[in-house]
Symmetry: C2
Subunit: 308 residues, 2 copies
């Protein structure tokens, strides 16, 4: 059973980790949002790819869910000594990832190839694929400050500005990678992780041809709600939904994906929410421990395999 | 009395530090070799500029004489986890310098401007000028391994290969900066630091027009010998001289500079060495303590001011 999962950062990484423990590596492909990526001090920073990579390698900071465990910030403090604002956290160990990646990209390598190199060196066996090798950049229109680059909104302003619209710069010119396309075409199950539907999953789905491709696949296409009890487990998903005029609920997430999915997983606290025209699984979806991650992956896959 | 000093790395930095303690900042210009500079993981690394900057700011590692005191190597260790060779030491704090510089250079700033920014932020008042804004790269022809990039020879192979020739790639197209030219034209004294004459000073002197410019200046032009008692205080100067067929002595350094200098300072252990057609000062030149550095600068300047 070939499983492809579409993910953003921390929430998606937890699901991907759970899957990686129970799906044979050759049967698991993780397609990752890259619309949050940006250049900073000449470094190409790919927050979601790194969160997935660090999580699957076991090196992730267990408290934050991103960055490397026990990383230090000597470089950042030295930046500040030079009077730099240094608003984006760059751990010292984390820098090695960015330096290797940036140099290889400048030398003309595809992000897909660079990611395969980095993940292989950390002993990761499943394929971690950036959604595209082209540059896509989320732009956030805010009420207070006009349009902001994503990381300026997300990190510098701690997602406090009120969002009125989103756009993905470069998306029309970008392409799903051939590796990603092949994985989707060969998939037996597609899982959309409990990531931010608007910020993390929409960029992947909105790549030219991806929605049309998914519509041709007569296989289980299941999303896991990142909204639990009307709140986001982490990050701005709930705040963003409210600002964009949606009710903040799991069922609203399901209707956002619409016919793109034919199955939906919501948390037990949202038992009974109205999710029409889809297979629905209600279970514990909040992943704290390692066991939670494996168990959610197992529960969801077992449920899907039982579909008629 | 306007003083211009031409320097390379550690030895020159010690003299520059001594000068900076006794010469008013507006009257001191430090012109620095950049032929050792190179790109590494997308970072523009300028070893001599950084050694001078770190020394004058008081941040230098007092044991090595280069790098930042109490720096850490988390990034390097993370590079190695990715299987990288990581042969060039990049301290975590040190990285901030390279990141700021590289980004500004990529944005089209001149190295002169970038250096002025970095040194000002560290509270350094005298002008520290790269010899040129263009790229010059020392290439070392070795008996064992053919031609090597300078840092490959110097750091990776710890200057152990036997050198048969040197060349400075890009030198013919490079220009002394306008700031450097003005400083030399307005100088009352030119001091060549106790740096490696072949590797650190020759690139500066060999920039188009520099030797001709110096020849027009009827002022004291004094070199301090980096060779003391037939040995180099630090680095490959003595080994290199022998390999290039010179006798390893202070007087050989003086004759290498020839008519470009009209004064020469040699260490007291070399008292009596034959240095024709120049003013000669014999004194303690080895700089260990802070006091040594100030004292050598004082002694040399007082001696020059007494010239008839």
């Amino acid at each position: 059973m070939k499983v492809v999962t579409l993910v953003g950062g921390v929430g998606g990484a937890k699901l991907a980790y759970g899957l990686s423990r129970i799906v044979p590596p050759d049967d698991l492909t993780i397609i990752v949002n890259t619309a949050d990526d940006f250049w900073h001090y000449g470094l190409r920073i790919c927050p979601d790819l790194d969160t997935i990579t660090y999580t699957l390698s076991g090196l992730v900071d267990p408290v934050n869910g991103w960055g490397l465990a026990e990383d230090t910030t000597q470089m950042l403090e030295a930046l500040r000594r030079y009077g730099e604002d240094a608003w984006f956290r760059l751990g010292d160990r984390d820098l090695a990832t960015h330096l290797i990646r940036s140099e290889r990209l400048r030398n003309g390598e595809r992000l897909t190839t660079v990611t395969a190199h980095l993940t292989a060196k950390l002993g990761i066996l499943p394929a971690i694929l950036p959604m595209t090798d082209e540059t896509v950049a989320t732009k956030v229109m805010t009420r207070e400050q006009g349009e902001l680059d994503f990381q300026t909104y997300f990190v510098r302003h701690r997602w406090q500005p009120v969002v009125t619209a989103l756009r993905f710069d470069g998306l029309e010119q970008a392409k799903l990678t051939s590796e990603g396309r092949r994985a989707l075409q060969q998939a037996d199950i597609i899982l959309i992780g409990p990531s931010n539907p608007w910020l993390s999953i929409d960029p992947i789905l909105s790549l030219p041809g991806v929605r049309a491709l998914l519509a041709t696949l007569s296989i289980p296409r299941v999303a896991i709600s990142p909204i639990v009890g009307g709140k986001a487990i982490k990050g701005p998903a709930a705040k963003l939904m409210a600002e964009l005029g949606f009710s903040v609920s799991a069922s609203e997430v399901a209707s956002h994906y619409g016919e793109l999915i034919n199955g939906f997983v919501l948390d037990q606290v949202d038992y009974g929410q109205y999710v029409p025209q889809k297979q629905v699984l209600t279970c514990e979806t909040v992943m704290n421990s390692e066991q939670d991650k494996v168990q959610l992956a197992e529960t969801v896959l077992r449920w899907i395999k039982g579909w008629k």
